[in-house]
């Protein structure tokens, strides 16, 4: 029996710990995680780019749902642990789940500090800690009204920049005389303020908040001097407090944070703590680099793999606001025994200051030009005596030894143990070693193998320079991902060339586009087959040997080699006759399992391949056609009962769903396409997580697209509102045809839409009537060839060879 490891909190620290643990002792523990946030582990650092719109939430997920499934980890999302019983060794969540543990890890992070002023609980007052906060800010930003950010530190400024980017009128209130005073000296703080103001953000320093005012919701912020700044949104970003209440209640030793030793052990030997909630050697931390080191130490402790101890080190601070370069490290207070070297270039907006003690760097502040940060950090860490280069030190590494000021040369000159990625503690040698040792060719590879540049991203430039240095000419940052090992062309190029060169068979594509293998592989062949089916519906002869078995035999293969059969039930509606026919087939062929699917229809599982044609023949007599439950094609159109029955229904959602399904079934698409039509915004057909969905409203049909509810979960985006069913059908068909023509094989609609932009899709489908018509016509044309029931074809003898053995060898023959 494996030991039970329970983790409270699913933030960045325990996420990293699990990665190490799975490497070092993959089967040692059965792991259960409770997370108060209702989601998987994501890169909290990158919330600012999500707020500003530079990234989507899916891009900052660290471990998707699939990861937990793959590693057999149970994750309770949205479960806050409310009690630890150390006697019984159990934890209990607010939803009443109790889990016992052999080892417990507390990683509850921090809670934002809320200044205790009147009005702090008014609707419209937010903190800045998690995705919910970001979503609430985005909602508020839609009104393009006024926002006040209280706090001119790292978080506050990132929030302010994001809200400004989203069109809000933003004021930052900071209680101290200069911004980020804990990381910057006054000179740099002043430059920072100018840079922030240059983006149209108002900054008020020495601004002491007295109250948040408003009736029922936020209307403004009142300062001690009586000034009132109007606002509909107030973000408090004044600091964080380690989240220790749970540990305190359980009787663990708690100081500022949960007290742990340098191996992350709390005062109870069965319990560890790590992350922002932990206090080690008198320090608590608020940046990920030390937390990742804690993760490494904790994993080693859990795996008993090596004796690793946590050592304190300073972490540089960088601000993630595009266009503002700022770097600060260590101690830069003035002092008797300290010297400093300063460089100012007012016209270029550059300020650099290095603080020395005994000829060694103890602190650095860089503003406007931060490329030398890693070098200064390295000198500080190694306590290098800088007296030799004192005169040129401040000009940076490139100036030492008369080297040129070429940034590549500077990176080349860095020592192998110089730290490149501060967040993940990755040094230069590790990156270059991985590039040569593992044959890495791009940034994503380096991120995957070393984690460098995979967190806050501010070292991306350095990593790219290392790629350039190590690979020379062979490094091509814009390189497209080839379709597979058989070609160096990417999907988009192949699609374009198929059209441009009029290629109409798989051998023609492989010949003309210089495939490297004789007949492709299991990755490129199905893709090419789809592209050709889509582009030449009337001319291309579908190559069944290039289709995955399910699409070749029109049933779903199961783990034991039998098949499952799912007939269409249009819009999820069935009848006594249909159900009777299914019952008869089940009896006749002794089908072991009948199941209602998640797609509003019925699945018959465990059918022998040889029996498939006979099963289909019987189903066909009752009017059933294939449900394409196996296809990269139109799957289901789920519906609700709509205006025919439901007291809230606004339109005939069932009828529209059936109409869409009957119009579109049989079409092949880059990946599966699932739809739903709901009769009102209560949305019982769950239309807002589908590839395409319709939500009926009084005034017509709201068309949604780009939702996902499988490996990723994502609500749909609204394409637009149309007045009639006919228009709804035309828009949906045109949208799907655009997707059919442009997407890469296996790319669901939401991924395609993200790649090309929803604005562009709206423009082509809703903004341009002619384009829409043309897409629609092309779909209709292709359906002439596609809308053939594959089951009845096979009942009448097509592909007979698929369903019976070539020969049967009996005992007699075999033993002859």
């Amino acid at each position: 029996m494996s030991e039970k490891l329970v983790i409270i909190g699913n933030g960045m620290a325990p996420g990293r710990m699990l990665e190490h643990l799975l490497e070092e002792a993959p089967d040692r523990y059965s792991v259960t995680i409770f997370n108060a946030e209702p989601r998987v582990n994501y890169d909290r650092i990158m919330l600012s780019p999500v707020l500003s719109g530079e990234k989507a939430f899916e891009e900052i997920v660290i471990h998707g749902d699939g990861w937990y499934i793959k590693h057999g980890i149970t994750l309770y999302k949205g479960h806050r642990i409310v009690a630890i019983d150390r006697e019984a060794k159990t934890v209990t969540s607010d939803h009443g789940v109790t889990e016992s543990y052999d080892r417990l890890v507390i990683a509850t992070g921090s809670v934002p500090f809320i200044i205790p002023v009147p009005g702090k609980d008014l609707p419209g007052v937010l903190s800045y800690r998690d995705l919910d906060d970001v979503n609430a800010m985005l909602l508020a930003a839609q009104s393009r009204a006024k926002a006040v950010v209280i706090g001119g530190g790292l978080l506050g400024l990132e929030a302010a920049a994001g809200l400004k980017e989203r069109g809000m009128d933003v004021t930052v209130l900071h209680v101290m005389p200069t911004l980020m005073e804990r990381q910057l000296d006054p000179a740099a703080g002043y430059l920072l303020q100018k840079a922030v103001e240059a983006r149209g953000i108002k900054v008020m320093t020495k601004a002491n908040t007295k109250a948040i005012v408003g009736k029922g919701k936020v209307e403004g912020v009142e300062l001690m001097d009586g000034t009132i700044i109007p606002a509909t949104l107030v973000v408090m970003a004044v600091g964080i407090r380690p989240s220790t209440a749970l540990a305190k209640e359980a009787g663990l030793e708690v100081n500022r944070g949960i007290v742990v030793d340098d191996r992350m052990r709390t005062s109870d030997p069965a319990i560890m703590a790590l992350g922002e909630c932990a206090e080690v050697g008198g320090h608590v931390y608020g940046l990920v680099a030390p937390l990742y080191e804690m993760a490494r130490v904790a994993a080693a402790g859990l795996a008993d793999s090596e004796e690793r101890r946590f050592v304190h080190s300073d972490t540089p601070t960088k601000l993630k606001v595009t266009g503002i370069d700022l770097y600060s490290l260590g101690d830069f207070a003035d002092g008797e025994d300290r010297e400093e070297i300063i460089l100012r270039d007012a016209s270029a907006g550059i300020y650099k200051r290095v603080v020395l003690q005994d000829n060694r760097i103890i602190g650095t502040v860089l503003f406007g030009e931060t490329a030398d940060g890693a070098w200064f950090n390295d000198l500080k860490k190694k306590a290098t005596d800088i007296s030799e280069m004192r005169d040129t030190l401040i000009f940076g590494q490139a100036f030492q030894g008369g080297a040129s000021s070429d940034p590549l040369a500077a990176v080349a000159a860095l020592a192998d143990d110089a730290e490149i990625c501060g967040c993940n503690g990755v040094c230069k040698g590790k990156i270059t070693g991985a590039i040569t040792g593992k044959g890495l060719t791009g940034l994503d590879d380096v991120r995957a193998h070393t984690k460098a540049s995979a967190s806050c991203g501010s070292c991306t430039g350095l990593v790219e320079q290392l790629l350039k240095l190590t690979l020379g000419e062979a490094y091509n940052p814009a390189a497209v991902q080839p379709m597979c090992g058989c070609t160096s062309l990417g999907h988009d190029d192949v699609r374009r060339l198929i059209k441009a060169k009029g290629l109409k068979t798989i051998p023609a594509v492989m010949q003309e586009l210089e495939w490297k293998t004789s007949c492709g592989c299991a990755k490129c062949r199905p893709a090419l087959n789809y592209y050709l089916v889509c582009d030449w519906p009337d001319q291309y002869a579908d190559d069944y040997q290039s289709r995955f078995v399910n699409e070749r035999v029109h049933a779903n293969i199961q783990k034991d080699g039998t098949y499952s059969v799912v007939p269409r039930m249009w819009g999820g509606v069935t009848s006594a006759g249909e159900l009777r026919a299914i019952a008869d087939v089940v009896d006749k062929f002794e089908i072991p399992m009948v199941k209602v699917t998640g797609g509003q229809r019925i699945d018959m599982l465990g059918i022998r391949k040889e029996d498939l044609p006979a099963v289909w023949a019987d189903l066909g007599k009752a009017g059933f056609v294939s449900g394409h439950a196996y296809a990269k094609g139109l799957r289901t159109v789920k519906t609700c009962v709509g205006s025919d029955w439901c007291r809230f229904g606004t339109q005939d959602s069932t009828g529209l769903g059936i109409r869409i399904e009957k119009f579109m079934w049989g079409s092949w698409t880059p990946a599966k396409v699932k739809m739903a039509v709901s009769g009102c915004p209560r949305n019982c057909a769950e239309a807002t997580c589908k590839d395409v969905g319709v939500v009926c409203v009084d005034s017509g049909y709201e068309i949604h697209f780009a939702g996902a509810a499988g490996l990723d979960i994502k609500g749909t985006e609204v394409l637009g509102l149309v007045k009639t069913e006919d228009e709804a059908l035309e828009v949906i068909v045109a949208l799907v045809q655009m997707y059919r023509e442009q997407a890469r094989y296996l790319e669901r609609i939401y991924k395609w839409a993200k790649r090309i932009g929803t604005a562009e899709i709206k423009r082509q489908i809703l903004g341009d009537g002619e384009k829409r018509k043309a897409y629609y016509e092309r779909f209709v044309f292709s359906q002439k060839f596609a809308q053939v029931d594959p089951w009845s074809e096979r009942v009448s003898g097509k592909d007979k060879h698929e369903f019976r053995p070539m020969a049967s060898v009996g005992f007699a023959e075999a033993a002859e």
Binding site: T517, S518, C519, G520, C521, A522, R525, P526, Y544, Q545, S546, R547, F548, V549, N550, R552, V553, I557, K559, D560, G561, H801, P805, M806, A807, S808, V809, G810, F811, E813, A814, A815, E816
Partner: protein, 117 residues
């Protein structure tokens, strides 16, 4: 395999090459289980057990490319020549001698014969 053993092999006719689609496979049912017989794009023929070394997937149902097949269940790639899993995966299936005489196909079931007998 020595000449003598080869001579003693028991070649059983299983049909014509045209029965198998190019870049495809068919099964032959035997007392010991199914055997998958493959035909490549350039008309080479191979036979292996229809049982993936990973979790028993029916290899005859996979996509055939070059002299290899990709298992339909979890995408292992199996060499038709050696029966070995290619790439990072490890495992192998039994290969079965197969011969093309004119248009006719034969497999040798010697091992099987001794087992069955």
């Amino acid at each position: 395999m020595s000449r003598r053993e080869k001579d003693r092999m028991n070649w059983i006719a299983i049909g014509a090459i045209a029965d198998i689609p190019p870049r495809g496979a068919r099964c032959v049912a035997t007392p010991q289980g199914k055997i998958a017989v493959f035909r490549t794009a350039d008309d080479q023929v191979f036979a292996i057990d229809d049982h993936c070394p990973h979790k028993g997937g029916p290899l005859s149902q996979g996509i055939v490319h070059g002299a290899a097949v990709t298992c339909p269940l979890h995408n292992w790639v199996i060499s038709l020549e050696t029966g070995k899993a290619l790439g990072a995966d490890e495992g192998a299936v039994r290969t079965i001698p197969v011969k093309l005489e004119g248009q006719r196909l034969f497999i040798a079931l010697e091992a099987l014969a001794s087992k069955a007998a």
